[in-house]
Symmetry: D2
Subunit: 491 residues, 4 copies
Amino acid sequence: MSNEVDTSSGMQRSRLRTPDEYRASLRDGRRVYYRGAAVDDVTTHSVFAHAVDHAALDYEMAHSGVYSGLAIGPDGNSRYFHVPQTGEDLLARSALIEASTRAGKTLVLLIKEIGSDALFALLALSAQLGEPYDSRIRLFYEHCRDGDLAVCVAQTDVKGDRALTPSQQSNPDAYLKIVERRTDGIVVRGAKVHTSVSINANEMIVLPTRAMSEPDADYAVAFAIPIDTPGLTLVASPYLSTHGKLEAEYPLSATRKMVETTTLFDDVFVPHERVFMDGRFELAGALARGFVEFHRFTAISYKLPLVDALVGAGLLAARVNGLERAGHVRDKLAWLISYAETLRALAHHAAEHCKLVDGVAIPDTLLVNIAKLQFAQGLHTAFQHVQDIAGGLLATYPAPEDLDHPVYGAALERYLESAEGVLGRDRLRVLNMISDLTTGEYGGYQAVLAIHAEGSIEAEKLTILAQYDRGRAADYASWLAGLDDARWPPG
Amino acid sequence: MSNEVDTSSGMQRSRLRTPDEYRASLRDGRRVYYRGAAVDDVTTHSVFAHAVDHAALDYEMAHSGVYSGLAIGPDGNSRYFHVPQTGEDLLARSALIEASTRAGKTLVLLIKEIGSDALFALLALSAQLGEPYDSRIRLFYEHCRDGDLAVCVAQTDVKGDRALTPSQQSNPDAYLKIVERRTDGIVVRGAKVHTSVSINANEMIVLPTRAMSEPDADYAVAFAIPIDTPGLTLVASPYLSTHGKLEAEYPLSATRKMVETTTLFDDVFVPHERVFMDGRFELAGALARGFVEFHRFTAISYKLPLVDALVGAGLLAARVNGLERAGHVRDKLAWLISYAETLRALAHHAAEHCKLVDGVAIPDTLLVNIAKLQFAQGLHTAFQHVQDIAGGLLATYPAPEDLDHPVYGAALERYLESAEGVLGRDRLRVLNMISDLTTGEYGGYQAVLAIHAEGSIEAEKLTILAQYDRGRAADYASWLAGLDDARWPPG
Amino acid sequence: MSNEVDTSSGMQRSRLRTPDEYRASLRDGRRVYYRGAAVDDVTTHSVFAHAVDHAALDYEMAHSGVYSGLAIGPDGNSRYFHVPQTGEDLLARSALIEASTRAGKTLVLLIKEIGSDALFALLALSAQLGEPYDSRIRLFYEHCRDGDLAVCVAQTDVKGDRALTPSQQSNPDAYLKIVERRTDGIVVRGAKVHTSVSINANEMIVLPTRAMSEPDADYAVAFAIPIDTPGLTLVASPYLSTHGKLEAEYPLSATRKMVETTTLFDDVFVPHERVFMDGRFELAGALARGFVEFHRFTAISYKLPLVDALVGAGLLAARVNGLERAGHVRDKLAWLISYAETLRALAHHAAEHCKLVDGVAIPDTLLVNIAKLQFAQGLHTAFQHVQDIAGGLLATYPAPEDLDHPVYGAALERYLESAEGVLGRDRLRVLNMISDLTTGEYGGYQAVLAIHAEGSIEAEKLTILAQYDRGRAADYASWLAGLDDARWPPG
Amino acid sequence: MSNEVDTSSGMQRSRLRTPDEYRASLRDGRRVYYRGAAVDDVTTHSVFAHAVDHAALDYEMAHSGVYSGLAIGPDGNSRYFHVPQTGEDLLARSALIEASTRAGKTLVLLIKEIGSDALFALLALSAQLGEPYDSRIRLFYEHCRDGDLAVCVAQTDVKGDRALTPSQQSNPDAYLKIVERRTDGIVVRGAKVHTSVSINANEMIVLPTRAMSEPDADYAVAFAIPIDTPGLTLVASPYLSTHGKLEAEYPLSATRKMVETTTLFDDVFVPHERVFMDGRFELAGALARGFVEFHRFTAISYKLPLVDALVGAGLLAARVNGLERAGHVRDKLAWLISYAETLRALAHHAAEHCKLVDGVAIPDTLLVNIAKLQFAQGLHTAFQHVQDIAGGLLATYPAPEDLDHPVYGAALERYLESAEGVLGRDRLRVLNMISDLTTGEYGGYQAVLAIHAEGSIEAEKLTILAQYDRGRAADYASWLAGLDDARWPPG
């Protein structure tokens, strides 16, 4: 990528949108369904309003004295759109993602993280895609950056029979594909699943989900469309509703919300200037992987508040239960700390030891994947340890309303008092937080995301095997085995 | 225990209550609160009715041709109350608990399991307790058995500072205790947590939670009271409500429900004939452990449908996702099968190799605890493997209502079709079941129960260390080390 | 199998050979090589004499008052040759294997275990093989039983390219095969690896190592030959020599020894009466698996002394180091106990719940494989825990000779004294035993055997997947998912 | 520490000793015993000569064109003695330790690593120790540096009853102590265990092993003495002898050797100028920990060739066995790579994010301990995976001599040929290397070192708990729980 994209001019902070401007931008003709019912205005819907408010934290942070230094990039735009050119850029991007997720109570905001990951992948491939795609990508990138837009990404196809390629499927719509090429654009049909933040984004980038070969050419398609594009239908998942949740009982999930949709493309027209790949099957895999690699670095950044929360949960639970000196509790706390800090160290080390490709700083791919893998494989154990320290009240706690009951509330609170003068009410708040974090739909959401989001555990292992430079180890082992007579070991 | 308790006479099956008789028995003056509001009738309350219906399966099974052979014991009473005298008795009890939990969709019924566990522990200790306690225990046992009653157990105290004994606590009510001794009975004050099925039981047995010493004598108390006893208040946990759940989306937890209460004893009077231990601090630990050991055998029996469901979930998910031949999926399935069948084999082996104590068959304590420990330590990994096979749709699935939508429902279902002709609707049902089983409050409930119910993981390790006969191994190691000169090894 | 094979007549115990008769039987024309040198007499060779003495324990036990009840079967022959017909038979066989391995200091004797496993597999397949094979197998079985012979088994081929079948290999000798069929017998060529106890056996049974198809017919061969058969060369592995080891320093491996050979068949002639399979490619897999399944039950029986030794090592090490009350040590001991006792329970449960096939009792295959898998996957962790408790002296201990040194020996011993009056000399013996058991070639031998002997970990997983009855779990999961409308769950 | 210690003057490379000068320096009056026999000259002793040659690699590297840039520090002295002042210094030190251990075939040289770790710890504490200790330490440091000396460290006491302090022991010599204070020095008595490289060092630094209190003042002693000091006796461990090993069979341990001694101090006189701590019980813990922390960074540096060798062993074994495409093999390789590269990344990140204390660069203590812990807890699993890929020949291989046998050698080699044209001889070399690396005494040595060297696993957990800054996690969890009302999260 050439460096024109970053010619920071005299751009002004004033161009960053306010939370209200963001909300207003979501009131358009988008077709969103929730439990079979059409949603008129996502910003006022009982569940989606929480998702919009959650995402709006991004705009709020940019205007907040606490975070603006982090949230605004060197060119005065949102830092998310700043193409990283150094390890410092990557560390700053990581720090912003961490800070916003931390403010989001362990739930990532994602409305710019994922979109910029896709934009960086497109920019990185634009030279290979050539004209006119190169120019289209740059224009669209500037459109998002200058408009301070919320951008989602639809990538995962439904896939049908996973042993077959797109063109081999019995169901021709198992993968999204081009069904018509017109003079002014293309028409696509199909569905994507797991599309995060689509209901409250401004733009949707669509990418292929896997490597392809020649017969799959019609499936090798990438483009971007506004959310209110005709033919685009967003069917929201009902999973993890905020509905009817008290914040005292569900301190995280009563208000924090991200929405995933099954996204239907019912012969959607995409004008040429928004088409970034059309038939270039041989580049489909590179684009799919390119996005995922940027996105995994985003992932290991946004997981940091979650692992910190788990360590903190363990520490607080040990305290309110009077278990800080118990041997097995200390053992579990040491495990949790090692788990969290290994992730942090690997994420930062990957950023600091990035590779420059055409001026773009790419975090160390091997380490990013190792970090993601270790996070993914350890989260269930982390939940187990925290639940073990916290105790059975996680699933048998009295309700917040009970504490206020005129007859038995005071007695209940007194009974729940613990060792070191921890108030019963405070103990319950800690347990409710841990219950929300690890046992309910929110905990399950994080668990499923750990395994499946940003590529599966198996995909990460594959990348690790592919990225590892085998020479150092294999040549050394050969020398040790006496298959190489050199006086000193190779490498 | 002498064998009078089982003088099976010509008792009739007709004495077993019907579900409706059971429901009617719950309409009394019990004081139950849900989210700060008094509950008039637990059988009609929006959430509790599910718990009552769930428990009523017990009575339904006894009258069902499919299960009555298992549900009715050799004396014509409910088999739960049959004091096991042989390995076969234990296997039959285990089979009944497994069958009823299987019918309960992996959720144990518990209204007789836990009560009979406590009754067996009391009967086993009755000779040591001596008269008049011995007779009181037998009479109460017959009362429960002959009345086919639902019986809960309140054991776990709130505990305050866990490093201190009951009498050392700064909060005098951290453990339940006798505050007054009258000519006709005792008065107790305090609270118990985690009291399962109390809101829909007929009787509550109260047991000490730990070993005690002389200054704790007033805390060394065991007794039984009807649920509508004055001064007894049941504060139900709001965790895992059935409220507003569609069965299509939550096939388990929309209707299956067990309720735990924080149980308050506000100067409750217990007449002498219901007092089973009063001040015998030196036996408090034996009673606490005796109950837990019977109860852990119940536990490893009622966990079997859960582990079967996880294996089945893995198998179905592999099928509907077209992943049956993937190496990593097969690896996880082998793990799940080994996990489940090890538990089953250990449970059955413990029953078959029981120890007879005063005519009561006690399952092998060491094996029961090993089984419980391995179950408890593996469940989170089992969830992880099942979620890994099932995929991200666990947390991003469209709603059941969406499939029926006139505009996009058919398309949605077609997209979700998978490899081997599995219908989109059926695939979704499988995913919803797995989501309910492993990711939401129901999965969290099972996870927390695994770690904390029937004694913690640490308590199980303690029992394993205490129960293990060290001679065989230690003497053998000494002989191997040459510290014993015998020609042949010891043992 | 018909039951003629067991027509126990008035056979006399006197037919069981003595250790010296066994030793004498090994002095024949066998061609054995050790480190490139021919071995004239295995019974007097500096290393092999230990292997012979070790194996001779079998004959010694049969004549010992302590063990003869176990070692002699109901028909007066060695119990190893008794075809199991009941669970009790299997338990007795398992107990004998456990007792002899316990006497063998955790090293299995194997000279009848493995041979009888192969004989049982041949007998079980003899009806399918038909005449004349059926009669040949029975005669050979009676020959081994009546002669109280030591019998080894050569199964594992070298395999070349594992992705190819025998007939597809570029190297035609990668699998043992028939190179000539004569009127009086066959001629075979090839090599087998990992042939245990061949140098000190009387007979060798040769079996195919895998399933085959028609082009592999010449490789589908099974037969038996005496060890001194012309053309048979045994190249012994030098691994784990007893050479120069003090028993005080290596209490196990200074004298306990089993030898494996790479076994070369240089156009070996096998007379017809010793050929049990010739070209029946469609039965090759059944025979290979049949042997392995019997052999895995042998394996989980002979692993019991090893896991007991590890528990005992942990207990002794905790004692001599004064660490019995340390939390992490107790945690590791609980793990070791659970590991050992789960294996024992599964082995016994598999025997007690055997399946009768043509009158032969087959231990539960699923459980045997689960037991073997869990043993194999846990052994390295068991070593780790024992080493952790034992301490660094495992690899830095002073020599036994140092304790006796006139100048510093006494001081050294005094320094090594530990907390509870454990003598320095005894502490060192415990550490030497643990070092031998877990850190040196003996520990490595057990580790490699755990993973690879009696089939690999992957083979065990395959068998678990194949043997598991999927119905109970899969149908239940379908019912839970609402795909089956029955009132009660299936199964 | 002031920076005088590094006043690099015009020091010349010529001052670095040659291997022969090093060997000559070991021929003095040192009292070394091996298996109860006095050793006259360690440089010619059949086993110790290998240890001397191994250590001499250090001097060889300094004079080798390949390594001198790394081996010689900025002041012209050996880089080991260069007090690190920046992250770059730490990285260079780490790289040198890695390179020399790599040249040492995964066995650390240690003759300067451990000594400089102790010197740095003494220098770091010298201001607190004050005069005259401060000057003595600096002089001794310069003596070692300028003389290019080999320096060992004796720290671990025998400890007796681990629950008691030194002065509480029934055995007064369970810890080394001062038994007399003279005008010209002190006299010490006691023993130290696990003293590495003492038999081939020039100087020995003695440090306390734990924190102490006032009654332990006579045990709070640190000093340095030449190895030939009267009263000092080195009793070498016979573990892992090179005796009689063929290099073809034991490519690592036939020649690579490090010796540990039990080190006896029989009223050893130490002159004042060599006494660095005398009675300062309150600083004993700081000195013990200070050394261990420097030494753990050394450890995670010298473990890198070992983990590389394990990855390489896995890669080569997969290749020679034709298993590179097997799913379970790829899974294990991904595990091994992640294990190795996490260790490398943590080591480097800890160096780059060091803390400056009085001008000395201290690697991040939390990360160093996490790295060491993860290495220690994973090594047995790494061995298991490599053994799994390598196969049973690890313990049943034919001898190198067999391949050369005129009769069957050629056949043997042909049989052992594998899939991809790998020669039988080369395949065997790979298997012998892996056998040496993971199954014999060398593998056991590495396993025991992993757990116990540089502090135990439990000590590392303790340090992790102590070093972790709890604020970020605990305050965040409090905020999540609603115990802190701030708009934005803390930290």
